[in-house]
């Protein structure tokens, strides 16, 4: 009893810390930028209804970007946690399964054939279509006698990624200079999404899927012991695997279709959270979601301010910051272990 109480307190503590991190990152994101609006004024503008250019900068430019960063960071981290738990493999991340590759091919083809001139929404749509095709392919190839082979999923996923990157190279070789630029922009990933509908969609989907994954928290804990053990514990293993695969695929599909490929968040954040809050999925899911959101918002703000008025691709910051931080923590832990 004592133990359970202590654990609950620890979890509440972490949730509060992470919520504070999200708020901190949000305040940072809202208050810095090349327009140089003073810190105090930002909050006056936020809560008062005055019209003007500064209000437009905060509400129409910084806020959507903040929300999208939170949604995508959360979604990718959540997908990372689930995949690492399901595959029991610390190297699996949202982009391992080839879903992002499918989305990238979809968008590249769209740009190559100039379909994006029909409407702005065709871009994320073709990305999502590519992602869905890969999901179906993965599912179809690895579903044998009503059993979803995780090993096979991983291998075919990696292969599909290779094929996709070759296809993208082919498309790049065939395209004109303007298209080239568009494809490279998209592949680099960006949270600067002009379409409010897409931002809302990403935010809604990621929160919805977070809630959905909570129906599987104990199954995920059991799966962490191994498929057979989980089966003995009474977990409907096949159904759980299938549903989790679908949930994560859709999460990845939506994220990649809306914001392109933003690396590292889905790999590094889950690892960090496991170190901090432990491996119990009851807390790990929410913690990773919040931490991923805060991390990406923070990185994106850095990306648009370090060399202002120019902007860095956000993946540069997530890669350098996340990667080096992770190696540092890993080395420190190894040192302690000795």
């Amino acid at each position: 009893m004592q133990k359970i109480k202590k654990r609950s307190l620890k979890w509440i503590f972490w949730l509060l810390v992470l919520a504070a991190a999200v708020l901190g990152a949000a305040a940072f994101a809202l208050s810095v930028g090349s327009a140089g609006i003073p810190f105090g004024k930002v909050f006056r503008i936020l809560f008062e209804g005055q019209k003007g250019i500064e209000r437009s900068i905060i509400w129409d430019i910084r806020m959507p970007r903040l929300l999208l960063g939170f949604a995508i960071g959360g979604a990718l981290s959540l997908a990372g946690v689930i995949l690492q738990g399901m595959f029991r493999n610390p190297l699996v991340e949202p982009y391992t399964l080839g879903i992002s590759g499918g989305a990238a091919v979809g968008v590249s083809l769209n740009i190559l054939f100039g379909l994006h001139r029909i409407g702005v929404l065709t871009m994320p749509f073709s990305g999502f279509l590519g992602a869905c095709l890969v999901i179906l392919l993965l599912y179809g190839l690895n579903m044998k006698r009503r059993v979803l082979s995780l090993q096979g999923l991983l291998l075919t996923g990696v292969m599909i990624n290779f094929i996709a990157s070759s296809l993208i190279m082919l498309i790049l070789a065939l395209s004109r200079r303007e298209s080239l630029q568009g494809i490279i922009f998209w592949i680099m990933g960006s949270l600067d999404e002009p379409n409010a509908f897409l931002t809302r969609l990403a935010l809604g989907a990621s929160v919805l899927f977070l809630v959905a994954t909570y129906f599987f928290h104990s199954d995920l804990n059991a799966l962490a012991l191994g498929e057979e053990e989980a089966l003995h514990l009474g977990v409907p293993v096949e159904r759980t695997k299938r549903l989790l695969f679908l949930i994560t695929s859709l999460l990845i599909g939506v994220s990649v279709a809306v914001s392109g490929m933003i690396g590292f968040v889905g790999l590094v954040v889950p690892h960090f959270m496991k170190k901090m809050v432990g491996c119990d999925h009851r807390i790990l899911l929410a913690a990773s979601f919040l931490a991923g959101g805060a991390f990406l918002v923070f990185c994106d703000t850095l990306a648009r301010t370090v060399i202002a008025p120019m902007e860095l691709p956000v993946g540069v910051i997530t890669g350098i910051l996340g990667g080096s931080l992770f190696v540092f923590v890993l080395m420190r832990d190894n040192g302690e272990g000795r």
């Binding site: 930028g33 090349s34 327009a35 140089g36 250019i53 500064e54 437009s56 900068i57 129409d60 430019i61 910084r62 994006h116 702005v120 200079r177 303007e178 630029q181 568009g182 922009f185 960006s190 600067d192 999404e193 002009p194 379409n195 648009r304 202002a308 008025p309 120019m310 902007e311």
Partner: protein, 277 residues
């Protein structure tokens, strides 16, 4: 006002035909995301309505007082909005998301495709002039440029046309085909572009050897021109090598397609092509 004063010597140099900017037409606040368009706005005498530029908009020198809002591809939307422009000039290379975002915020965004040849340069210049109500100034500048072009064409028309290979990229070898202003520069100054009829800008060394041009012009844009020159000199069978006609030119001569700089470039190419004739 300060900029206007600085503009004067520039215009005097152009021949003094540009009328002074009228007060009423200067109401616009323009952000230009293309070095060419920025230069053209100054040519039109409305340089002081440019409130934002890219890092590469460095011509004329007055541009250094204008705020930088990005490089060619990555631009800072927040910075642009904070400058309160009523017109943003973009190119196909500009980040599509940024263009869309600016449009959704109710800012007029006009895209200028890269002008392919001399005619394209003039059309684009006229279109830009229409946006800042400087049609007359533009027409005058174009008229002057066209006169100079036809003068050079007439002068060089009677001479023996040298065959020219123009190299704008090494490894892979890239040239310029018909429909580009590089091609126009060569043909207008009485040369023959050996790659005129090629389908693609990628060209093979083998073909250059087969066509054996009289002159090879290397426009070094991001590659080592001297090294390329040495490579060509390794083929002593080439006419251009025997006659010492492998010529390195500064990319600045070629890389600003405004009607005025086109004429400058044309004069430069004319000198290269007919150096000894």
């Amino acid at each position: 006002m300060v900029l206007q004063v600085f503009c004067l010597p520039l215009k005097a140099e152009e021949g003094g035909q540009t009328p002074l900017p009228q007060k009423g037409a200067l109401s616009q606040r323009i952000v230009s995301l293309s070095p060419v368009l920025t230069e053209e706005l100054f040519l039109l005498g409305v340089g002081d309505s440019v409130v934002g530029r890219t890092r590469y908009c460095t011509k004329p020198a007055e541009t250094d007082k204008i705020e930088v809002v990005g490089n060619l591809t990555e631009i800072n939307v927040e910075k642009i909005v904070s400058l309160r422009p009523d017109l943003v000039l973009v190119i196909p290379l500009t980040d599509p998301r940024a263009k869309q975002k600016l449009r959704s915020l109710g800012i007029r965004v006009e895209e200028f495709p890269e002008a392919a040849d001399f005619r394209g340069i003039c059309d684009s210049f006229l279109r830009l002039a229409g946006m800042v109500h400087k049609e007359k100034a533009a027409a005058d500048l174009i008229e002057k440029a066209k006169r100079e072009v036809s003068r050079i064409r007439q002068e060089t028309g009677s001479r023996q046309p040298p065959a020219v290979f123009i190299e704008v990229g090494a490894d892979p070898l890239v040239t310029m085909v018909k429909g580009s202003y590089f091609h126009d520069l060569i043909e207008f100054s009485g040369g023959v572009n050996i790659a005129a009829e090629a389908v693609h800008q990628l060209y093979s060394r083998e073909k250059v050897l087969a066509k054996d041009p009289d002159i090879i012009i290397i426009v070094s844009m991001g590659f080592d021109g001297e090294e390329e020159k040495r490579i060509w000199q390794g083929y002593p069978g080439l006419k251009a090598v025997r006659q010492g006609k492998i010529i390195l030119v500064d990319s600045d001569l070629f890389c600003a397609p405004t009607p005025v700089s086109f004429v400058h470039a044309l004069q430069g190419v004319e000198k290269i092509l007919h150096a000894e004739n």
